[in-house]
Amino acid sequence: MSEKKSDQQFLNEVKQELDDSCERLDAQTLSRLNHIRHQVLEGAIKENRFSFYQRPLLSGGALAFFTLVLAVSFNFNSDSGNDADIALSELEDIEMLTTEDSFELYEEMEFYQWLSMNDGF
């Protein structure tokens, strides 16, 4: 027991020595420690302030982009009524290109249309 107590006493003395050594730090070291602490905290606060202004801008940009995409897609969908007409005309073009009829027939289509209209005469 006395051995254990002396062990504890020894450790207390060591602790006391180390505590005293902190109190005896020279002014230059204390000033540098103080400077380091302020530098670290100021740096972190600055970074935080920067992100305070930057992040909303980024989010605002993302929001504007998303709105633009939505607007474009709605506009595209609103024109979908004409899609059938466009598809039909495209189909006619393809038919025209793939037909075996002479191309001259299509070139003189206006004449044949006039002829069919005046067929009655």
């Binding site: 020894f10 020595e17 602490r37």
Partner: protein
């Protein structure tokens, strides 16, 4: 869509999640905590510096290590609860000290290899041999402290750090094991060896 709304809201108000899964405004929390963090650093910086100084034997390197540890705690853990900071800081500081020793060992080895091949010498880190001070110098400071530091510097690094964390910082075995990234058994063994080593070296010196 809901992801986008959540992202926008989170980024506008920097919402994070605390340990219980509740949302909080981390930016506001950081600004609230910065004052507390400053107070925490003030309370711990001298001991942290002395720990690093004993481990490195060099004032400039010790200050660099303390700065690194403070930066790391501020950048990564400022939003943690204040009661968690101490153990986190000890862990970061221990890691930085170990890294410093690894780097110095590599530099030394590399320097030796280089000087054997080349006449140019790499600058060696300066260690202050505390036990080699003149009697006049020793009398000016405190002789027992000089002897204590010299004895601590003679110990293997892990033993030294475990001893300082347990005896000086008052950490429990479990907390020390977290701070040093070792098992509790290893901590017990290091601490016991460090105590008996110091006792043999200093028992009569500290009584003077």
């Amino acid at each position: 869509m809901s992801f986008f709304i959540t992202y926008t809201y989170d980024s506008l108000f920097t919402l994070g999640y605390d340990g219980q899964g509740k949302r909080f405004n981390s930016r506001r929390k950081f600004l609230d905590n910065s004052q507390a963090l400053g107070n925490f650093f003030s309370s711990i910086e001298k001991r942290a510096f002395r720990r690093a100084q004993i481990a490195t034997g060099n004032t400039d390197d010790a200050l660099d290590i303390v700065q690194d540890a403070m930066l790391s705690l501020t950048n990564k853990y400022a939003n943690k609860e204040a009661q968690d900071w101490e153990l986190l800081f000890h862990k970061i500081l221990s890691n930085r000290i170990m890294d410093w020793h690894r780097r110095t060992a590599i530099r030394k080895r590399f320097g030796t290899w280089l000087s054997s091949n080349d006449d140019d010498e790499l600058e060696e880190p300066e260690f202050e041999d505390l036990s080699a001070r003149s009697p006049e110098e020793i009398s000016q400071t405190d002789q027992s402290l000089v002897l204590l530091e010299a004895a601590l510097q003679e110990m293997p690094l892990k033993q030294q750090q475990v001893f300082l964390l347990r005896t000086w910082e008052g950490l429990s075995e479990k907390e020390t094991s977290v701070a040093m990234s070792c098992s509790v058994g290893t901590i017990k063994s290091h601490y016991s060896r460090a105590r008996s080593f110091l006792k043999n070296k200093l028992e009569y010196e500290l009584d003077r």
